[in-house]
């Protein structure tokens, strides 16, 4: 006697194994598919088919996971990309405002900075707001993006995240060491200064993490519409 097979369970496991992305979104997508497949099999059973044949028909109608996975992956990439874009859009203005508040209200440093440090600080502020605006626009564009454009946008957001991070870290380190390390010394001697530095490090790690995930996942995505015959 042949062992009993579970075509629906195998199909769902196959599809799940092909998807990468935010865990909660992936679980919800796969659960919805599982529900739909069991509904389809139940409908065939009610129509008089034997349980095994009903399950086989439901799985056959669904299509091949290899062909369908890119469509599901596009939704996961959109979710991942939108999260990354929103994080970038919120992080940079928050950090810029925190640093501004530190210099203005926390009596950190003696208020003197060379012209080049002041210029670098202004450029950093402008770059931060520019990156945040670009990320906010990308977050909106994810809403109506096709599968191909979702991948391009995700690659763009991941690149924006890393590029902005590298530029802001390099500029910040240079400013801290400029004028004989005056900025770094002011930070070390002030509790608000240490808190803002810790906030900046945590936010930078978060941007680095989400930008890396977005780039890796979007880099793997390949679009091909399903073409396998159903019946």
């Amino acid at each position: 006697m042949l062992p009993e097979t579970d075509p629906l369970g195998e199909l769902v496991a196959d599809l799940r194994g092909r998807l990468r992305g935010p865990r909660s979104v992936r679980a919800a997508l796969v659960r919805e598919v599982d529900d739909g497949l069991h509904d389809a099999a139940a409908a065939y059973r009610e129509a008089g088919l034997a349980p095994a044949e009903a399950a086989r028909r439901a799985a056959e109608e669904f299509g091949a996971p290899a062909d369908l996975a890119p469509l599901y992956q596009a939704e996961l990439d959109a979710s991942q990309g939108r999260r990354a874009a929103l994080l970038i859009a919120l992080t940079y203005p928050t950090l810029t405002l925190a640093w501004d508040a530190l210099w203005r209200y926390a009596s950190t440093g003696d208020g003197t900075a060379s012209g080049s440090v002041t210029l670098a600080a202004r450029l950093l502020d402008a770059g931060s707001y520019g990156a945040a605006i670009a990320a906010a626009v990308a977050a909106l564009l994810f809403g109506r993006a096709s599968a191909t454009w979702t991948r391009r946008l995700a690659l763009g957001v991941g690149t924006l995240g890393w590029l902005s991070l590298v530029l802001s870290v390099c500029t910040s380190v240079w400013m801290a060491q400029a004028d004989g390390g005056q900025g770094a010394a002011a930070m070390r001697s002030s509790t608000p200064g240490i808190l803002v530095v810790l906030l900046t490090v945590a936010a930078s790690l978060a941007v680095a993490g989400t930008a890396t995930s977005t780039l890796l996942r979007a880099g793997r995505l390949r679009i091909s519409l399903p073409s396998a015959p159903v019946r």
Binding site: L15, A28, L29, R31, E32, V33, D35, G36, D39, A40, A43, E61, F62, G63, A64, P65, D67, L68, L71, Y72, A74, E75, A78, F142, G143, R144, L225, P226, A228, V230, R231
Partner: protein
């Protein structure tokens, strides 16, 4: 038929959800009934298409209990209704032009 169905899947999904909210398999059943059985795409294409329409703001998706089981149910939003009206108008214009062209000289 399959390619033409695929090209209009979004509009068809909006249309079957116009009367009221449905869960994924009920959407597939409605597509079959309303298309007279001509809907022959892999049913696995419907779920990501519903998610894409939700992402675009045309549908609201929510988990609810239907028939004693938790299912993801979709309902048309105001934006989705406007998109459906626009799709219908486009299709009627295209259909009229195609009819006139295919009818030939009378």
């Amino acid at each position: 038929m399959k390619d033409s169905v695929r090209g209009h899947l979004d509009a068809m999904l909006l249309a079957v959800l116009e009367p009221g909210p449905l869960h994924g398999y009920a959407v597939i059943e409605a597509l079959r009934q309303r298309s007279g059985g001509r809907f022959d795409l892999p049913t696995g294409t419907v779920y990501p298409a519903l998610r894409a329409l939700e992402r675009a703001g045309y549908l609201d998706g929510d988990w609810s209990t239907v028939g004693g089981r938790k299912r993801r149910t979709y309902r048309l939003t105001g934006s989705g209704r406007r998109a459906l009206v626009a799709e219908r108008t486009d299709w009627q214009d295209f259909s009229r032009a195609l009819d006139a062209t295919l009818a030939g000289e009378s």
